[in-house]
């Protein structure tokens, strides 16, 4: 994403807004918020599945951004930097909610009955046709928290397993395994949803 794209405002590019925000310019803060709020909020909402939590975390992510903005040197795209910051805010929030003696990874491990069912050997139906995005978004919301986090970070937000492992404090193997389970669970949910729709007709 090019750094210097236009913001909603006369002639103010993102790069200019960042420079002015470093000087404490209030309008630039607001302009940067307007530009990035949707993506940050959506990320927080997908990761937490809770509107109120997502709003609080969006607020915290932007506040941390503004506190740190003077240290942004432009080595990466601003949106990448902000995005990573928001992910860390959410993960830190989840760590605090976990029991202290249980790691984030362990606390997010779904219960036995929440995990995907084995799908071996028997005939099966393919998810025919395109996957409706609304249904997919709902399905993601209904995932157990641990699966949802990994799935959102990898498949929705595009982080690699080594990055997720570093952020979550887990192994790369575990990240791959959890992602697979998340996709399997989504497959189940989507199939059930389609079956219900078909039955309802």
């Amino acid at each position: 994403m090019a750094q210097a794209r236009k913001l909603a405002g006369p002639g103010l590019s993102e790069a200019e807004a960042i420079d002015r925000a470093k000087q404490g310019d209030a309008e630039s803060f607001e302009a940067l918020y307007a530009l990035h709020k949707r993506r940050v909020y959506s990320l927080c909402l997908r990761m937490t599945g809770n509107t109120a939590e997502a709003e609080d975390l969006t607020q915290e992510a932007f506040l941390q951004l503004y506190r740190k903005i003077a240290t942004f040197r432009g080595e990466s795209a601003f949106s990448t930097w902000l995005h990573r910051l928001a992910v860390n805010v959410v993960l830190m929030h989840l760590r605090k909610k976990s029991l202290p003696e249980v790691s984030l990874e362990a606390s997010l491990e779904p219960q036995q009955d929440e995990g995907p069912k084995k799908d071996i050997g028997g005939p099966d139906k393919v998810l025919t046709g395109a996957i409706d995005r609304v249904n997919l978004a709902r399905a993601i919301d209904s995932l157990p928290r641990g699966y949802r986090l990994i799935f959102v970070l990898h498949d929705v937000e595009g982080y690699e397993h080594n990055e997720i492992a570093e952020m979550m404090g887990c192994s790369i193997g575990n990240s791959k395994s959890q992602l697979h389970k998340a996709r399997m669970k989504l497959r189940e949910i989507l199939k059930e949803s389609r079956a219900e729709e078909a039955a309802g007709r």
Binding site: T71, R73, E75
Partner: protein, 284 residues
């Protein structure tokens, strides 16, 4: 008696739990990056020590220990540049915001450290060093073929075994000590801090040691090859080192306030200047 024993027992248990809780709050983070020759590393740490060492191999390793959730460390690599920064997430006291850094880097890595409280240590490096701390104690050892820049407000500075590079130290009130420091250009400026130099002013360099009201003490061997001038405008000067007294067209000695002379082949230029402090030159 039993109740006293119980009280002691519970105190010990409580102390043990607190210790466990304290260590449980510690978090270690390590970043490792492969770098090409000539890499640059920048560390910014508001509170806590930064220790940098040259090490074999082509990897930069940055290890940080935090003690609370109110701070976090970010590392980022862009090409051959690496930046590690401590971010304060919530306002907290100095103890909670303290982060301890240990950095290993290939010796040809340029290093910049901003650590207001420090201490900052750097050793076994062969590339440019820029170290800044407000009250940080700064120590640099075994650096060669590199420029060394140090700036503090009140932090003391100690350099040892530095050679073949430009050295520039500025401190307002920190004391500066140089042992076996030589190079083409060595410059020390303090206001109130004292300056102590122990070495031979080698390599045919230009040495300038200047302060306002602190003392300047220089100890050099008889083999030192120097063209030395010393002046204190409103303080005093003492010389216990044998100097030849050639005429200096631009420098006229004044008893008790200034002196000048050469030793051996006068290869290095040494200027000692204090506004109101005492300048002492001694033989090792």
């Amino acid at each position: 008696m039993p109740s006293m024993c119980n009280g002691v027992t519970w105190s010990l248990v409580a102390a043990g739990l607190l210790t466990v809780a304290a260590f449980a709050a510690d978090k270690h983070k390590e970043c490792r990056y492969n770098v090409a020759p000539g890499a640059r590393v920048t560390i910014t740490n508001e509170s806590g020590p930064v220790d940098v060492k040259g090490a074999a191999g082509r990897q930069v390793v940055i290890a940080a220990t935090t003690h609370s959730d109110s701070v976090e460390m970010d590392c980022v690599q862009a090409g051959n540049r690496i930046q590690a920064t401590t971010h304060v997430l919530q306002h907290s006291d100095a103890r909670d915001s303290r982060v301890e850094y240990e950095v290993l880097a290939p010796p040809d890595t340029s290093v910049t450290v901003h650590a207001p409280s420090g201490p900052i240590t750097a050793e076994k490096l062969r590339a440019d060093l820029t170290l800044e701390g407000d009250a940080a104690q700064v120590e640099v050892r075994n650096v060669s073929n590199a420029h060394v820049h140090v700036r503090t407000i009140s932090g003391p500075v100690s350099l040892g075994n530095i050679s073949n590079g430009h050295v520039e130290i500025t401190s307002l009130s920190g004391d500066v000590r140089l042992d076996a420091v030589s190079g083409p250009k060595v410059s020390v400026n303090t206001a109130k801090g004292s300056i102590r130099y122990n070495g031979d002013f080698g390599e045919g360099g230009d040495y300038m040691l200047v302060n306002h009201s602190g003392n300047i003490e220089v100890t050099l061997p008889a083999t030192a090859s120097v063209d030395l001038t010393a002046r204190s405008i409103a303080g005093s000067v003492e010389n216990d080192f044998p100097l030849q007294q050639p005429s200096h067209p631009t420098f006229v000695p004044s008893p008790g306030r200034s002196f000048a002379g050469t030793s051996n082949s006068a290869a290095s230029s040494v200027q000692l200047r204090s506004f109101s402090g005492k300048i002492c030159v001694k033989k090792q």
